[in-house]
Symmetry: C2
Subunit: 444 residues, 2 copies
């Protein structure tokens, strides 16, 4: 348990909020320098981190036998010397990213001597709630500090000894750079989560990283904006003119490369004109990789003819909106591109969808009409990821329509404010009789 956990939580959040005002004033060198110090401290104290981790691992065996955590959770707890080095490298990668703050996205003379700017600035105080993976702490903390945000971090109780040492490395680095230690707060209890959800006015954005269940619980129990998604129901649509071999390769990668990931596909949509040719090919490849197929009537008829001995299932309406997180795939034949788009917009989760076609007009319609945060042409949905997009790291993927959307890296952790600079300009000069006209001239 950290010192801070003993104080009144609202007081802690209030101090973190005040620290965020200090952070927003620091230059990039100071913020990035603190990240370099964090990376250095973590590498220096590697043995200590690994020893703390062994304690958590020993304890987790007990929790596992008592059914309080799952085997997967216990598994994600484990660090190694190589992993600690990766953590330090990851922080350094964030440090070297360009400064996300102070970018000018609008500069306009409203009149002579009256100039409007829109510039990026931090969001304020973030609350990140994550589960057993201890490397989430340094990753998220470094993204927060680099983007000038303060952060409250609630980790899994089963990782608490490891997290305490990592957290000490982070705050020591802040202190060594003269930055407020209250910029980062580590919490550990379930009651803390409930308090976070109620802290409107102090916390500006909540980022849950964990199970669908965790995300949904948070979304349903707070008025604070939540970044993230409960489900990832992604689609691959194979148009009638697709190259079947490419469509097989994309289906296999999108489904099997890491089936538990949110950007794996759950439903394969196939145009009726290519179904008889494509389905036997893709079914062979997927069945070979132990993928369970749940087929609508027309696709069942085709696949069962080719693979009479395979264990094929009939899809129900629930399959169209289910994230399996496993080697399971639902399959549906559609009459047209339009029907595919309608299916995706109705049953999907607005995460990432891919079309395989050679027709430029078809992919353009797909890109414009599918209202997901990612639309792909001839590329695996598994590319939907902050690291693969070149964001350095990500705090999550947002399937909402408002900013931030898609994989969220540093750019998603900043917002903007309007800055107006005049020289005593008043509105009354621009209204009524003989009103001055605005210039509205953009600066280049």
């Amino acid at each position: 348990m950290t010192d801070t956990a003993k104080k009144n939580l609202n007081q802690i959040l209030s101090e973190a909020k005040q620290a965020s005002a200090v952070l927003s004033n620091l230059d990039n060198d100071t913020r990035s320098g603190a990240l370099e110090d964090m990376a250095h401290a973590i590498q220096e104290r590697s043995a200590e981190i690994l020893s703390a981790n062994s304690q958590d691992l020993a304890e987790s065996k007990k929790l596992l036998s008592e059914g309080k955590i799952t085997a997967a959770m216990a598994d994600r707890l484990k660090l190694s010397a190589a992993k600690v080095r990766d953590i330090a490298d990851g922080i350094r990668q964030v440090a070297t990213q360009p400064d996300p703050l102070g970018s000018t996205t609008l500069a306009r003379d409203l009149d002579e001597g009256l100039t409007l700017y829109r510039r990026t600035c931090p969001i304020g105080l973030l609350a990140v709630i994550f589960e057993s993976r201890p490397d989430a702490l340094p990753q998220i903390a470094s993204l927060a500090i680099k983007s000038g945000n303060a952060a409250v971090l609630k980790g899994g109780k089963e990782a608490q000894t490891t997290l305490a040492v990592l957290f000490d490395c982070l705050t020591a680095a802040l202190k060594s750079r003269g930055m407020p230690a209250s910029s980062l707060v580590l919490l550990s209890t379930r009651e803390d989560v409930e308090s976070i959800l109620k802290a409107e006015g102090l916390i500006d954005l909540i980022i849950p990283r964990g199970s669908n269940h965790l995300v949904r619980h948070i979304q349903e129990n707070t008025k604070i904006p939540v970044l993230g998604h409960a489900e990832g129901v992604c689609h691959l649509y194979v148009h009638d003119d697709a190259d079947p071999d490419m469509a097989v390769r994309l289906a296999v990668d999108s489904k099997t490369q890491y089936p538990a990931a949110c950007n794996s596909i759950e439903t394969l949509l196939v145009h009726k004109n290519i179904a008889a040719r494509y389905l036997p090919l893709v079914a062979a490849a997927l069945l070979d990789r132990q993928v369970e197929l749940r087929l609508d009537e027309p696709s069942y008829a085709i696949v069962s003819k080719f693979f009479p001995d395979a264990n094929l299932a009939h899809a129900t309406i629930d399959d169209w909106s289910t994230e399996y997180c496993d080697l399971v795939l639902s399959v549906k034949i559609v009459d047209s591109l339009d029907q595919a788009i309608k299916h995706i917009n109705e049953y999907g989760s607005h995460h990432t969808e891919c079309i395989v076609t050679t027709d430029a007009k078809a992919f353009e319609t797909f890109f414009k009409s599918v209202n997901s945060s990612g639309v792909f042409w001839k590329a695996s949905t598994r590319f939907a990821d902050g690291f693969r997009y070149g964001f350095g790291a990500e705090v999550g993927i947002s399937t909402g329509k408002l900013h931030p959307r898609g994989p969220v890296g540093l750019e998603g952790l900043v917002t903007y404010k309007y800055e107006l600079i005049g020289d005593g300009h008043v509105v009354s000069d621009y209204s009524g009789e003989g009103a001055k006209k605005f210039l509205h001239r953009d600066r280049s």
Copy 2:
């Protein structure tokens, strides 16, 4: 009552949502052309609109005498031939704005032949809830259509005859351009509002335009993102080195140019070193304009000495967070720039704040540390407005930290999606042994 109101509301919303997918596919010429047709129809049918408006006005007298609407509401109802012309001109101004859709904000080669774009796209289905002003309907509808969004519009019942004619002009224009008439929906009952608040998954963004009470009711009763703000508690801070005459001019304009507006100031913060010189000047100017002053102890001591006969009030802690919407101003003396910033961040509503100083370092600290959507240097807070910023029109002002923020015009009504174009690229080539490296080369 419109035809649509007779159908089941969920069916109507569902059709509007489907229409939004069609709108997102239309080019700027088609969308802007429909706006030109709307403006034309409104001007053509001016007499009919004014006659409908007379009916609403006659009815409103009854409602007013029954206490069902306020005098201000009845007042806002009234249209004139000139106002109808202004409405049409307003729509034409939105039509000629640059296309907000399809702007590329990121273009990056992830690898040879694998290119990522981030492009602006519509949000989807908007729900706008407004009160008696009938000109809100064409203004908001034109902003929605121009930005490729469908919109559900709930107007005040007291304006329903006027709104029905205006709405007919709008949908006739959509039909004449072959656009789905269900892109715009007009609703009129209080029950419709409650249904809108529950329509998660169909409605993407709710925009309330009306009283603080209306906005707060909506914010507290929906899981859908709400654009807008309940309060506008704006500040003017006069630093110790300010030009007193300029600071008086800015205080007078920011408070009295239109006291009911959300961007008028409610609190004047004055540095202690300039208080004795500045307060008598500003008090004279404000008292002269019938502004009621609510002063903290130190400022009361100064002002009451100069104006012993004025009706001065003592400020209480509630004054620091109250939006008067009237000729009332609270005044507080602060010890430092830091104290001013802390006061604003603690008691303000994150709308718009101004600093008067000649010190570049002071205004920079103010700009970075004040976490409001607008920070001004030597300019009246009354400039915080979509028209004055050159956005053509605005649907509201957002005091939230996430997009959209500040005055919201067309740019705030679009979001973005990530588009990835490959040629059969799969993630498995980029992971494990012998993994290909990403290029992450930005296109200029």
